[in-house]
């Protein structure tokens, strides 16, 4: 199927109630030039499911240079366990050096995480996605009710598409809960990042990730010092709710 024939809106509605392996099958049947984005966390279930459909599935990971040692070990474990190659993407050393030389190694605690994430994650990701027709993410609605409640199982990627390059984004786990993901991991003996044994739920860079306590939302384990700035761009009403506000 070509991108022109891919009816994203119709398929998003049609597949909304389907299970993740069905969404993955749709993705892999529809696109040859497609890859899974693997964060080194519980999104490993996507690789487990996808290799059963296409054993040579393409996978990439963003190595920011600041990941936990356990995450690096896990990425390598996944590589050997599934006998796949993982394309590890690195940030541009010049940009990292400029940031670190100007602002130090922990500027995100003062200036917010976006500058560092932009250099270490978004730029390499954008370059990679410019080479693909479609990608697969582990995004789930329950990861953040404030920002991911509307994540569909498939969409046109509004962040990384351009006027001359439409990118399709699949989120097969969108409607699964964390519990369902972990039920799958246990049932299918899927390898997982050791950090999960220490209370980490969401796993990102080492300085920006912390374990959470029982009943704390996983969002509280990431960038816990800057919740207010994350909301800053939203249009909120101080007096009464407006339909456009988040």
């Amino acid at each position: 199927m070509s991108k022109a024939q891919f009816d994203t809106s119709r398929l998003a509605a049609e597949y909304d109630s389907r299970q993740p392996p069905e969404v993955l099958k749709l993705a892999l049947d529809s696109f040859d030039n497609i890859a899974i984005s693997f964060s080194g966390a519980e999104d490993v279930v996507l690789i487990d499911m996808a290799t059963k459909i296409r054993p040579d599935i393409r996978v990439f990971s963003l190595d920011t240079g600041r990941l936990h040692a356990q995450t690096y070990q896990f990425i390598d474990k996944v590589r050997t366990h599934y006998q796949i190659s993982i394309d590890v993407l690195f940030p541009e050393s010049e940009a990292v050096q400029k940031l670190v030389n100007n602002k130090g190694l922990f500027s995100f605690y003062q200036d917010g995480h976006k500058e560092c994430c932009g250099i270490r994650k978004v730029i390499p990701l954008r370059r990679k996605l410019a080479t693909l027709d479609a990608w697969v993410t582990g995004q789930r609605k329950d990861q953040s009710p404030a920002t991911r409640a509307g994540v569909p199982v498939v969409e046109t990627d509004g962040a990384f598409s351009s006027t001359d390059h439409e990118l399709i984004k699949f989120n097969p786990l969108s409607n699964w809960s964390s519990t369902q993901v972990w039920d799958y991991i246990r049932t299918h003996n899927v390898p997982f990042n050791e950090l999960h044994n220490s209370g980490f739920i969401s796993i990102g860079c080492e300085p920006c990730t912390r374990p959470v306590l029982p009943n704390q939302h996983e969002r509280e384990g990431r960038w816990w010092w800057e919740d207010e700035t994350i909301k800053e761009c939203g249009l909120h009403s101080a007096s009464r709710p407006v339909t456009t506000g988040r």
Binding site: A95, K114, E115, C117, G118, I119, K121, V122, I123, L125, R126, Q139, Q143, S144, A146, T147, R148, G150, V151, G158, A159, F160, S162, T163, S202, G204, R219, R222, W223, T229, I230, E232, C233, G234, L235, H236, S237, A238, S239, R240, V242, T243, T244, G245, R246
Partner: protein
């Protein structure tokens, strides 16, 4: 062509950081005089012109641009680097584009 920039005043009366950044970038690029009107979305006043425009166009974030062509058709631009590319054929740096992507994509908060 008529271009409107909608920028935001926060509930505490301070200007929104991203709106200030975008305005500075317009100045640096020599494009501010291409903006025909600047409208305020004041979080303290849901009837402020900018809040009404946001409601009308179902925009959830500020700043944003409304571009009206000669036929009266309006298009909304919420991502600055794409706006300057599509309207003025100008390119932003990779780091600016990355910042715009993060600011305009709430679901990337976990990236």
């Amino acid at each position: 062509m008529h271009i409107t920039l909608v920028k935001k005043i926060l509930a505490d009366g301070s200007p929104c950081r991203k709106c200030q950044q975008v305005e500075s970038r317009l100045v640096e690029a020599g494009l501010l005089d291409k903006i025909d009107s600047i409208v305020i979305a004041d979080e303290r006043d849901t009837d402020s012109a900018g809040m009404l425009l946001a409601t009308k166009h179902q925009v959830k974030q500020a700043p944003f641009f409304i571009v009206r062509d000669e036929q009266g058709n309006e298009t909304i631009h919420t991502v600055y680097f794409r706006f300057i590319k599509e309207i003025f054929n100008r390119n932003a740096s990779e780091s600016e584009a990355a910042a715009d992507i993060l600011d305009s994509s709430p679901d990337m908060d976990y990236i």
